[in-house]
Structures are given as C-alpha cells and as structure tokens.
Symmetry: C2
Subunit: 357 residues, 2 copies
C-alpha cells in the first residue's frame, strides 16, 4: 500500500464507484461506547489506556473477520503534521488529534476503514466506499462492530439503543453520509431547492467547502439527521433513495446545460483546464472551483484527454496541511503553499493525461 | 501587400518600433480644407465631387514624392462590412463612412498612410508608425501636405493658421497621438496619477477601450490638446518628451511588479495564456484583458515561447466588425462572434509560438 502520509491516493475517492459521475464517496460511521466507563472527555488516563488496550487486543480478530490488515497508529507517536494528514484523508478527526495522548486509530490496509479510539466516543468505526455504496459501507461497519460487540459490553439501553457521548448519536449511533459533486445544479441555480427540501427527507445538506459565505467547488455532504426510531438498514435505504433522486436531478441539470448553453459550458470547462495547466500560484478555493469545472467537463466528455482520477488526487493534495507535510515544513509560508499547489496541479494534469483520441 | 479587407496585419502595430514594449503606435494627422469651398457637411454634391476629383488627380504626384503606391477607395463602391474593416484598421473613420457618397480614402501600399477625402474636413492626412515615432510620422504627413499645398489653395488665415471644420483643429490642424500599453501602471494602481497630470502637460489621456466605466486592456491614447500657438514641430517634440516620461514610469512600475510581486505577476500572465489557449467563447473586453496580461508577460520575458506579434494581429481581429467581415455575415449572431473570436485567438497563439528555448 502507498505511504499513509505521503500518498494522496484513497480508493474510496476513485471516480469509478456507482453513480461516480455525481457521488464522490459514501461513508457509514458507527459510534460505540464501553458500558460502565466514562466517555473519553471525562475518563482518566488509566481508563483511556484500558480502552485502547482492549481494542488493540481485538485487532487480530477484526483482521480475521474482515480479511484486511490494520495499522494501529498512536496519535502521540507521530508528528503533528502527520496527524493533520490523517485528518485531511478523513482517517482521523480533529477531535481525535486535539489531545493525542491515549488516542489512536486503526486504519485498514486499503485505507477504506478507520476505527478511532477515544475520540468523542470510545469507538468510532468508519467505512468509506467510492460512489453510492452506503449498504456496502454499512455491511463493513457491522462486520467490525460484530467482532467488537462479541467481546466488549457496549453502553446500550433497551429503549434508547446505543448510548453515545452526544445525544444526536443516540439510538443507532449511525451517521451515513455521501459527498456529491453538483456543478449542474449549481450552474443552473438549483442548489437551494435541494437544500430547502432536505429536512423533509430527513437529510442535512451542507457545502463541503465554503469560504464562510459561499460553497466552493460545488461539493456537498448529504447526511442523515435521525439516528433514533429507525433501523440502520432503514436509515441507509431511505438515504440511498434520496441521494439517487438528487443524482437524477443533477444529471438532468447537466443535460440542460449541454442542450441550452453548450458553448458557455465548454468555455468554462476549457478555461478551467487552461488555468490549471498554467497557473503559478493557487489558493485552495480557486483550486476547488477550477477542479469542479474541469471534472464536470471530463464527466460530460467535453474534455476527453484527461482521466477523472485527477480530481480524486487533487481533493487531498489541495489541502494546506497535506502540502505542508509534503514540503516537510509546518510553517510553510502562504505564498509557498500557493506556489506548491499550482506546481502539483500542473503536474497532475499532465500525469493524468490520456492519449488523445 | 496583404488583402486590405481580409488581412489583420498592419506594420504600424508591429511591436518592433522604438519603445515598442510600451508604445504601440504613433499617429500624426493633418486637417486641411479647400479655400472658398464649404466644409463637407455643408458642401453640395458637385462640390464634394470636385474635391474628390482634384485630390485623385494629385495621387501620381503624391506617389512620386513618397515612393509609395496608393489605392483610392471610393466609400460607395465597397460593401458596408468592408467600410467597417477600414475603420477597424484606422484607415477610415466613422465620420467618413456615415454618408459614403463622394467620400473616399487613399491608402498607401504599406497601410501606414491614409488620406481621407470629404471627412469632416476636405482632407485628413494620417501617418502611422510603430512605436514612438512621432517625428517621422510628422515628416511623412508634411511630405504629402507639401504636394497638395503646391497645387491646392487651402483655407488659411495669417493669424489663426489653417481653418478647419472644428475649431479644436484650428491653427496647425495637427493631431498627434500615441497608443500606449500601460499594464504596469494599471496593476500598481498608478494610472490615475498619469491621467491627472496630463492636462498640465497639454495632453489628453483616454482609455482606448472602455466598457463605459472602466478601461479594458490597459491601453491608452495620449494626444495633444493644443493645436494653436505652437509650431507642429514644437507640439510633436513636447509630446514625445511627455510620452517618454510615461514610458519610463511604466517601466519602473513593471520592475516593481517583478521585484515585489513576481509570483502573482507570473500567475496572472500564465493563466491568461492558459485561458487564451483553451477558451471556446470570448467577448471583446475579455479578449483585451487577457491579451494585455499576456503581452506584458512576453515583454518581461515571463513567456518566452510566444512572439509579441500575436498582440498586433489580435488588436484588429478582436473587433466585432472585423470578425463579421471575416465570416462574410453582417448579421453574425453574438454567440457565433464569441466563438469565432475564441477560435482565432487559440489559433493565433499557436501560429505565433516560438521554438521553446
């Protein structure tokens, strides 16, 4: 497998998943807490150490059940920049690395599964897949949960279900989410209708990246709002249907753009390509906006000399913390970050070039 | 010589003139009117015809004196689109083509001299040169004027000088102007100081292209305000000095950009290149803004794989009327104009590419 800290590649960001032209990735996360043990923010050092020890001891059983090899990474054993890279790659969370002592994460060899230890809950099992694959993500999370629950008494109430550090996770402890790329709806000014209707569908829809006011890069995280009163399968199945509906709307919007505004669309796409090929300095929002336009062009066949994989790689590379680690300098000045980003974007477009038809 | 209506090339737009990195072109124009003959807007058909006939008959003498061959183009003998092309190329003026009957222009074979007949004055002699070459332009205009004045009685008053249809031309009938490219002053926000000081220098400074509010493309026309009270040589010499001062300021501004903002400058230049290489649709203002950035990059050696000649050609090609004539369709829809412009810009960048060092 690629180097965890130096490689930007993640299989679950591949454009080849189901509905991969619109759904970038699916993720299911289960929150679990040990019975009769304070939540991590109230647990003492011995208790945190005990939790970590118990889970570590179960890794061989998890590996046997999943057929995957896991790395156990102690947060206090790696430099701060590498912790940040794990956050950029969504294999760890900001909460996990805030106080690194006795915090750890088990990461599968394919980088699609992460089990965080002593995050807000004692355990957070997260399974990622490329495209719209919520059911498979849920299955994989259950596979790990089964191993753990067979050996650990989890905090569970007959009426409420799983007890978690935040009440929003009570019940199933489930958070299912997908990241969608919706440039068609954005360029046709139809994003707000999706966002407005989402609460009725039991969903939250939020811009993945914003500049504080506006969504940048046309990517949205769609997640369940309810964790209580439904089974995990019901939640995931309802969500899959709602996401599929948004996928269909996005495709209709793209068709409309192709039909009614083809020249302007091609111009946007190709200018984005031109800027990315030649830029010398690029901030993060600028990169996301350009990447979004170019990815749309690749998905629609307007640009046929580039693999959509460029997008998966740049989603990670674009992040400031990734670039700092790459340069080996935590204090890398802004201007040098901008310059490095532009260099890598230029280089990636050449590396992902396809032979011209 | 290239086709007058189909070729965008004009030697006086070449980047190779003196101070050609900042001064695009120089122009001297003399206004002359026949004595005891109403100005063209008050002259009757017979009078206009007589003026045209007299001047036409003197063309052989002008050719002999200048060593240039002249084409006499009757405005009512060419289609409206071709009249517009002559305006785009600054060889005719909108006033000349408004009422084409009995209006004509004599154009030298090198396209650097134009003698308009029955424009606002009976005669407008214009001589263009690449770069800062006002003296030579004046000499060439005098050469033609000498031939004409030896054979025609011009309206002249001992005290006022030449009498012209507009009082602003009284005296010398001279308008000297240069077109300057000032991206350095523009990007360092120093344009307004040039514009503010220009009246004290006896100059007018105006954006060559504006969108009604803002100057587009960082090109400015600098012209004399006074035509009375100085000799032609004094006017031209004063103006040359003032222009040289602006040239020096522009070069200092470019140096400052290179020194203090190199990365941002390179980024601007190369993104402009990228957009121009790949755009599919381009309006006129967009093209001018991109051309200006790229030309600056070529002049500063940031872009070393492109000849500055691209700029000279695109200055003409960019104009809507030129594109309509090229497409052979006076009613060419806006979207097709945008598309054609982008095609030609893309193609020009490839044609003017230099072998990479």
């Amino acid at each position: 497998m690629d180097d965890l800290y130096r490689s930007p590649l993640l299989p679950w960001l591949s454009p080849k998943g189901p509905e991969g032209d619109v759904v970038i990735s699916s993720r299911v996360r289960l929150a679990r807490d040990f019975d009769r043990m304070p939540f991590p923010d109230r647990a003492d050092t011995n208790q945190l150490a005990a939790v970590k020890k118990t889970v570590s001891a179960l890794l061989p059983a998890i590996e046997k059940s999943t057929g995957q090899v896991f790395d156990l990474v102690d947060m206090d054993s790696i430099p701060p920049m590498e912790r940040e890279v794990l956050c950029v790659k969504h294999l760890a969370s900001p909460s996990l690395i805030k106080q690194p002592e006795h915090r750890a994460v088990c990461i599968s060899d394919d980088r699609c599964t992460s089990i965080m230890i002593n995050e807000e809950d004692h355990l957070r099992i997260a399974c990622m897949e490329a495209g719209l694959e919520l059911e498979r993500s849920l299955q994989r999370a259950f596979q790990i949960d089964d191993v753990l629950e067979a050996r650990i008494n989890m905090a569970f109430d007959e009426k409420l279900g799983y007890l978690t550090s935040w009440p929003t996770n009570l019940g199933t402890g489930l958070r299912a989410s997908v990241v969608m790329h919706l440039p068609g709806l954005a360029f046709t000014d139809n994003i707000s209708s999706i966002i407005n209707i989402s609460p009725q569908l039991g969903l939250s829809v939020n811009g993945l990246y914003t500049d504080g006011h506006q969504v940048i890069g046309n990517m949205f995280r769609v997640a369940n709002r309810l964790t209580l009163g439904f089974t995990e399968e019901e939640i995931v199945s309802n969500m899959r249907d709602a996401v599929q509906e948004i996928v269909d709307q996005e495709r209709r919007a793209r068709k409309a753009l192709e039909l009614h505004d083809r020249l302007r669309l091609e111009d946007r796409v190709w200018r984005a390509y031109g800027e990315m090929r030649f830029a010398r300095r690029m901030n993060s929002g600028d990169a996301l906006a350009l990447m979004s336009k170019l990815r749309l062009g690749v998905d629609l066949g307007i640009v046929d000399n580039l693999s959509a994989e460029f997008f998966s790689e740049l989603l990670i590379v674009n992040r400031e913390d990734y670039l700092k680690n790459l340069a080996g300098n935590e204090e890398l000045p802004k201007e040098e970050i901008y310059q490095l980003r532009a260099e890598i974007v230029r280089e990636a477009l050449q590396r992902y070039a396809l032979p011209q038809r």
